[in-house]
Symmetry: C2
Subunit: 218 residues, 2 copies
């Protein structure tokens, strides 16, 4: 993943990425409480991460797609702090964390890259906090769809047509809304002509207006 490495360094980073692991749709990659040993880089597929609080509340904390790194939350305690579950048949690279630590002591580009990835995860979480703390239901939905669109396009897929891999309930959990509110919100965005929804298929007609819909109404 990092750039600017010598041939030899690239080789060593390659062998760091030990094994691959397939995860069938619905199956966990790891569960909260399990001992943390490795990070996981998604090769193909789609995941959700979910935290469960002591009193039984559940919340989806993120959706991860190809190229993204999972498991960073486990470093602090040595145990995973959330469940990671595949939303479709997926494959990940297993990155043993102690080997990553060693190697990043020798290759400073790798070290720097790793620190940046962690930092960006913090910034991402803070923008979700902002979404949950200040946005209204329809704004949250618009922000969610625009974010997905951007991530798809940066992977070479269409910015304006894609399939949701998650249910309305999972979207709602992520956005701090009930599934009915998600459904109504999508219908409303459709009525406004910004997009078409057919089950999990989304076609965005007016991406600019959808971005505007992230801001407070008129």
């Amino acid at each position: 993943m990092p750039v600017g490495l010598t041939e030899q360094e690239i080789e060593r980073v390659d062998e760091l990425v030990g094994t691959r692991r397939k995860v069938a749709r619905g199956m966990p990659l790891y569960l909260s409480g399990e001992s943390f040993q490795s990070l996981f880089a998604i090769r193909t597929g789609f995941f959700k991460t979910e935290v469960v609080s002591e009193d039984g509340r559940e919340q989806v904390t993120g959706f991860q797609m190809a190229g993204e790194l999972m498991g960073l939350d486990g470093i602090g305690t040595g145990q995973h702090n959330c469940d990671a579950r595949a939303l479709e048949d997926s494959e990940v690279c297993v990155i043993p964390f102690n080997r990553l630590s060693e190697l990043s002591r020798e290759i400073d580009t790798l070290q720097h890259h790793f620190h940046k990835v962690m930092s960006r995860e913090i910034v991402r979480d803070q923008s979700v906090m902002m979404l949950l703390g200040t946005m209204r239901a329809e704004e949250r939905l618009a922000a969610f769809l625009v974010n997905l669109s951007q991530r798809f396009v940066s992977r070479g897929y269409s910015a304006t047509e894609f399939n949701l891999r998650m249910t309305r309930e999972e979207i709602g959990s992520y956005l701090g809304l009930k599934l009915e509110t998600v459904s109504r919100g999508l219908s409303r965005l459709q009525d406004e002509g910004l997009l078409s929804v057919s089950n999990k298929n989304i076609r965005i007609h007016k991406l600019d207006d959808l971005k505007k819909a992230m801001s407070p109404r008129c």
Copy 2:
């Protein structure tokens, strides 16, 4: 901060912490957009961090007290992504990030400690996401006060009596509530006999019940 270092290592970590800096109440430690150079460890005082979105929305993303580290969000982009502002006259240690990087390549205890701190920040942010996404107003307030209480007690202060350094509006921003709702919530917790509020002074009478108030009603 890390433990288990040799004499010599401790010395080197000490000289890593270059200078100290005082920040008067209300003054910024750093602002969003400023070039990121250093992390800051709080020696004394109290801070808030606040993000401002493009469309002008503001949200307090955290309150930091002595011993806590600030600035991690800047590593990813090389620019600070939030404003950090002192809520009372404060003093911080300036930790130049490139020197920390170098030193953590040589002292693996330091490296590991730093990774843990970043990871815990991610976990903390996720628990705030859960608070914002699933809790009701009074539950959020209870969780906020219990969290403050725990952090005070771990610093040797009273778990049951302390002064809030922030306004109702700042609490509300952090908890995704309006200041009136915060005020009403505190009054309600007082009516229920769980605590006494007198402006910024909080006395918790029933810490156990306050913890229970974090869970869904009855």
